[in-house]
Symmetry: C2
């Protein structure tokens, strides 16, 4: 894409009402636009990152048998009334003028998915299976002050699995946990998998994936020797205590919850009469699990982990473009070479953002560093004197000259 | 995909509260699930169709320079108050318990996009450009009785264009109209482009794309000689009248509005101070256009146009799968050949739904006809006697035997 065409521009100033690193850098770089507290639009650069994260998630969900679907955002109140959750604090309710609310906005989809599954499941032969979606969730968070880390409207991937027994659920549960680690790894994030309290969802045995990060709202205790973790909310551990597993020293760390998984048991099956006949013809409730990842939160976590004083440093697989091609000056030969590199890249399916604008080298470099595309290629009269371009990785200090004829092999 | 894995099943009975052909066939086939009136979830088969329609739309929008983004669904009331639309009938409002509503749900995005554009546009050099999204819209329709043709929650592609002058807007307007015709054509639909009343949007000069179809809620007058059309809502024409263009006979027809385009002028630019400096440094309001396509409505229109007494007949480019491979019987050789064809198809990137279930030939054929995948390949002991499979197109009567070794060239 040519940068002259991109309708967003780099903003010089960080918005004053945004404290978090992720929202400051993402807003300044033209990735997101803040509409209200905790409510952000994804601009072209930001949507590209979200779509890359979505693609990684889809590939890994499909790999563990997840069938993609797309459930609704408007939920009739009968759904939450069936499970006693219509009174939950964080849901947004929808009402006609001067009437009682009749809908809530999708804050989670356990009720919806249980009702749908009940339409199609009758026998143990129909089990197990799993379905997922990437859909918007709405939660009226009182403290929506961390940019995309805690939104009131946010994209979430939720997977639901359906089983004949708890044993089968826990088998899939482990498969899903491995899948989650792969997803975060592909997004550039090292995650740890730990026991947690379940908030509004379940009372015990939920698990969460944490990424150690100073910007995190969670506190976990980490054994520095064996790597054992516990969430502060459910542990009696404290800073300096001995690890219950190996006796090593435990340290308090800040972290971000990037995913969570819940063994739901039969709570939702009972509410929506989701039953199956076992081998002997006996009717039993289906055992469910749920598995969530917030796409925007993953994006925000990546930014909180990978930035420097100049801007964002995107890991390759989630970067909005792979290459930032920068033309310095408007000498005809420079323009010709830059256009050629751009077109060759397009033909080979390489994702190139081509800075074809009339701006100074200093401005262009500063903006490129803020946007944070992994590889920068500079074409100027000076590099062309040596029949070369200058290539620099965003996460490295040094640039190197590479002969133009050698670029195509990269 | 193996059909034994697909969690949905064919439903024998059409739901009693659904009158429309599209909802009856789509619900029975396992494409959609009805959660409330006008509110449907997309099940795996249905989501595949929606994603195909989305892909066609994205390709054609990108081809006319559209930059994809993703705006929010929760809109602070300040947006509609700025344009005097907070009182509009069809919007869903969101309120905290016992408080005045503070948000509405996205029924359209003119206000949001105008505010975002105002952040980035300052000069005539920034114009023209266009941005689009595929996002959920919510409209509290009183008559949501036509399945996906008129939903209360539905996916919509909306494109917005920004121009320095009306002349430039109308240049792009024609480009977008051509693009729309291509989109509908790729979806298998012949559309006509006609003047229309604008409903809640604008007072005059809006245009709409109609597909002639008995299930349509719109009435248009069509000249049988020259093809000139007018919407009943804005015309004085009537059945049997003379065409104002060629004098030919005009006939009344039912039709479905599959897309519409609106020259918005400066209404939203004025409300959100969306200005640019022209060549002489004079500040002017940006001229806007908007262009909508409902994805679910396109899907429903395809069904209403292409079905027979047995079920849906999907056009190739939007079909959930290209090939429905059906194995009859469980003879080891039949299984082996069917599996081989399935795996070869997967390797070549062909989209195959493989009916590997233990059901009778009659049941399998009836279900395949209902689902409506374009090409059916049957493998049975009988076809294998002639080293062949039976191939039948969904839209044709006759089947033919094809030698197994020849299938790979298809």
């Amino acid at each position: 894409m040519k940068q002259s065409v991109l309708f967003t521009k780099i903003l010089r100033e960080a918005p004053k009402d945004e404290q978090s690193i992720n929202s400051q850098l993402l807003i300044r770089g033209g990735f997101i636009y803040k509409n209200s507290a905790g409510i952000y639009s994804f601009l072209p650069l930001g949507l590209r990152v979200i779509q890359k994260i979505g693609l990684i998630i889809r590939e890994e969900m499909n790999a563990i048998g997840g069938q993609e679907m797309f459930m609704t955002a408007l939920h009739d109140k009968r759904y939450l009334q069936a499970t006693g959750r219509w009174g939950v604090d964080v849901i947004f309710k929808v009402a006609e003028e001067k009437k009682e609310p009749t809908f809530n906005l999708s804050w989670t989809h356990e009720e919806i998915v249980a009702e749908i599954a009940a339409k199609y499941i009758s026998s143990y032969k129909d089990l197990p299976f799993s379905i997922y979606q990437i859909q918007t969730k709405f939660r009226n968070e009182p403290r929506a002050k961390s940019g995309l880390l805690r939104g009131r409207e946010f994209l979430m991937k939720d997977l639901y699995s359906f089983h004949a027994s708890e044993a089968d659920l826990f088998k899939y549960y482990n498969l899903a946990a491995e899948s989650y680690k792969k997803i975060f790894k592909r997004c550039g994030l090292d995650s740890v998998y730990t026991l947690a309290a379940g908030g509004d969802f379940t009372l015990n045995n939920t698990h969460e994936f944490q990424v150690l990060c100073d910007a995190g709202e969670d506190t976990i205790y980490v054994c520095e020797k064996c790597g054992y973790y516990e969430n502060k909310e459910i542990t009696k551990l404290q800073d300096g205590a001995k690890c219950p597993k190996c006796g090593g020293p435990v340290k308090e760390k800040k972290s971000i919850e990037v995913g969570n998984i819940f063994p739901l048991g039969t709570k939702y099956s009972e509410a929506f009469n989701l039953k199956f006949s076992d081998e002997k013809g006996k009717k039993k409730y289906v055992v469910m699990g749920s598995y969530g990842i917030g796409l925007g939160r993953v994006m925000a976590t990546i930014v909180e982990k990978f930035y420097d004083e100049k801007g964002i440093i995107w890991p390759k697989e989630v970067a909005p473009f792979q290459v930032h091609l920068i033309r310095i000056g408007d000498d005809p030969k420079t323009i010709k070479v830059a256009e050629k590199i751009y077109e060759d890249g397009q033909k080979r399916g390489m994702e190139v953002l081509y800075d074809d604008r009339d701006k100074s080298a200093g401005e262009k470099f500063a903006e490129a560093d803020l946007i944070g595309i992994p590889t920068r290629i500079v074409v100027s009269e000076r590099t062309l004197e040596k029949d070369s371009v200058e290539i620099k990785e965003r996460n490295k200090k040094e640039a190197k000259l590479v002969k133009i004829k050698e670029i195509h092999v990269r």
